[in-house]
Symmetry: C2
């Protein structure tokens, strides 16, 4: 590789992101001969596609999420190798996960941006899959934010997705009864047979609010919500006293251009003494090592499964991203570069 | 008094409650000669009007709040005297606060329904005013649910109301900077001059969202919301990272017939790591003595003021209730019975 391939954000999508929203460019590899203190040069080899990246494509607002500048490389959660380092915490050749961008090479200040070493026993796929950003987000959302009680009736929306599938399994491990909501019969079957959910609801063929009322007449004690909109409404209508709602994502609204309404009838939250709480993985930086260790232990002891959907080819980055919003991914969606694909990273 | 005067709910209001929604009836005084164990007969002397009573007039739903049966006396927060007791915790002549109804005499099971003794040094007005349901609701919402930090920028909606005025003063005592939102210039002036708010916003003449952005560019850390709807939206648009929203009331929607939408853009709650939590005073039954003691201490030491709006006449109950929704009350709105009005209770 003698050039730095990049996918730049060329225009802001108003609906789903499509290839035409990005511009392919071949730049020079960044000059790392004189790195500023704290900075590292990373060779990106794997990109994780997460739904919230769609928000980063929106115009700057008075909200909190980052906005990718037009004409600059699309930000992404990635894994790769330190090629050059002027940071005492990172050595050349070290494998890391980081927030870099859709490009081959990224220079960044590792004291400011998240860059985390990948343990020797893990592949890059494992580092961004079973113990990657989505899985750790599920872990923190359940154990640190939501803190369910054993015996709780717990619902997960987007349950077949990368975060939801982990959240559901952790809830089961913690002793909850689990109901997963997904968008196809195939996914629903898998929620029960593979991921251990007690019940699955197909929101494309079933009325979620009514079905929940039938199968959970005592109400929902815990809701891990990746979807928002109608899903949030349907569960709020069935919420139990003293319930907890973990606000993890609002994928229902990411392509809409207008914000999704929150749940109608906030009175249910008042009279129900319900807590609804949003969070980001970055709020729990200190708990990441423990979360990583715990998830790996669950996986190795057979208590948890993880499914990856790995695509290859730097060229495919914009196209594969849209699969997140059409339900065409089958597990944590990652793209490995052509070079890296030759040896499973 | 030889009859039991009652105001029955005759039909369910679809907008504001009006006198025609109620039916006046004179019944026999309940026979207390053979009270069931745990039961007491209470002579009601004072009725507190709280906005949430409007919700109790709605049809039964799958929500949690109580529904008053058609043709039965309207439920109300009250104060009065135990006339007859078959409950070891209550003696005849003892003054109490309770959830009774718009009637002169109520029999209820004091082991099931909330009945609380009134301390000797308090009048019935004080028991339902400065340390009544609304004031204690503010106390629990701030100190037990919200738990603000000193230095927080705190906003209170419905700040001139019975609950909001107490919440704002407690926030100030705890070291917050306080912004109050109210619906008239007169009330706004009073928020600052009498209740110690740092700033007041008149939502009828000012754009709340825009004004907050100007006077709180760092964002709102703490929101005590009595109103919901547009007020909740305006504050959410200005919410700071790691903020807390205490969901106390949704008076904006109580007369609408349809539930008020929750805040749009729940993403702000996610990326802001914001907690929104509803509650009821009854969740904190054990903390009520301590809250009562603390509020009285603040009042006696001059740190807190309390304003009562006391009307008299059992006949006026339905008409005075509607003043809550037109802003025509000036402090905690209570109605004392004609008999009781002769000696300030």
């Amino acid at each position: 590789m003698t050039v730095n391939r990049q996918w730049l954000l060329a225009r802001r999508p108003t609906d789903k992101a499509v290839r035409g929203d990005f511009e392919y460019r071949e730049s020079e590899i960044p000059d790392a001969s004189n790195l500023a203190p704290g900075h590292v040069l990373i060779r990106n080899q794997l990109f994780l596609h997460a739904p919230t990246m769609r928000n980063w494509m929106d115009p700057a607002s008075n909200s909190f999420y980052p906005t990718v500048g037009l004409g600059t490389p699309m930000l992404a959660t990635s894994a790769g190798v330190i090629v050059k380092s002027n940071n005492p915490r990172f050595a050349e050749g070290q494998r890391v996960t980081a927030i870099t961008a859709w490009e081959d090479y990224t220079i960044l200040n590792a004291d400011v941006w998240p860059v985390r070493p990948v343990a020797d026993e893990l592949s890059l796929v494992e580092a961004q899959g079973p113990v990657g950003m989505n899985a750790l987000t599920a872990y923190m959302g359940v154990t640190q934010v939501g803190r369910p009680k054993a015996g709780d009736l717990a619902v997960v929306s987007g349950a077949a997705g990368s975060t939801g599938s982990v959240a559901g399994q952790i809830l089961k491990i913690l002793g909850c009864r689990t109901i997963g909501i997904a968008g196809s019969q195939d996914k629903c079957d898998r929620l029960v047979s593979e991921l251990g959910f007690d019940v699955a609801i197909n929101y494309k063929t079933q009325d979620v609010e009514k079905t929940l009322r039938e199968i959970a007449p005592e109400g929902v004690n815990f809701f891990f919500d990746n979807v928002g909109g109608d899903m949030l409404q349907a569960v709020v209508e069935n919420i139990a006293k003293f319930a907890t709602i973990v606000l993890c994502g609002q994928i229902a609204g990411y392509n809409d251009g207008v914000p999704v309404p929150g749940p109608r009838n906030m009175m249910r939250l008042i009279y129900g003494s319900v807590r609804a709480e949003g969070f980001l993985l970055g709020d729990f930086e200190e708990q990441i090592p423990e979360g990583t260790r715990q998830i790996l232990e669950w996986i190795r002891s057979g208590k948890m499964v993880h499914r990856e959907d790995i695509r290859s080819g730097f060229d495919s980055l914009p196209d594969t991203f849209s699969d997140l919003f059409t339900g065409n991914n089958d597990g944590t969606l990652m793209v490995v570069t052509d070079e890296a694909a030759r040896t499973r990273p």
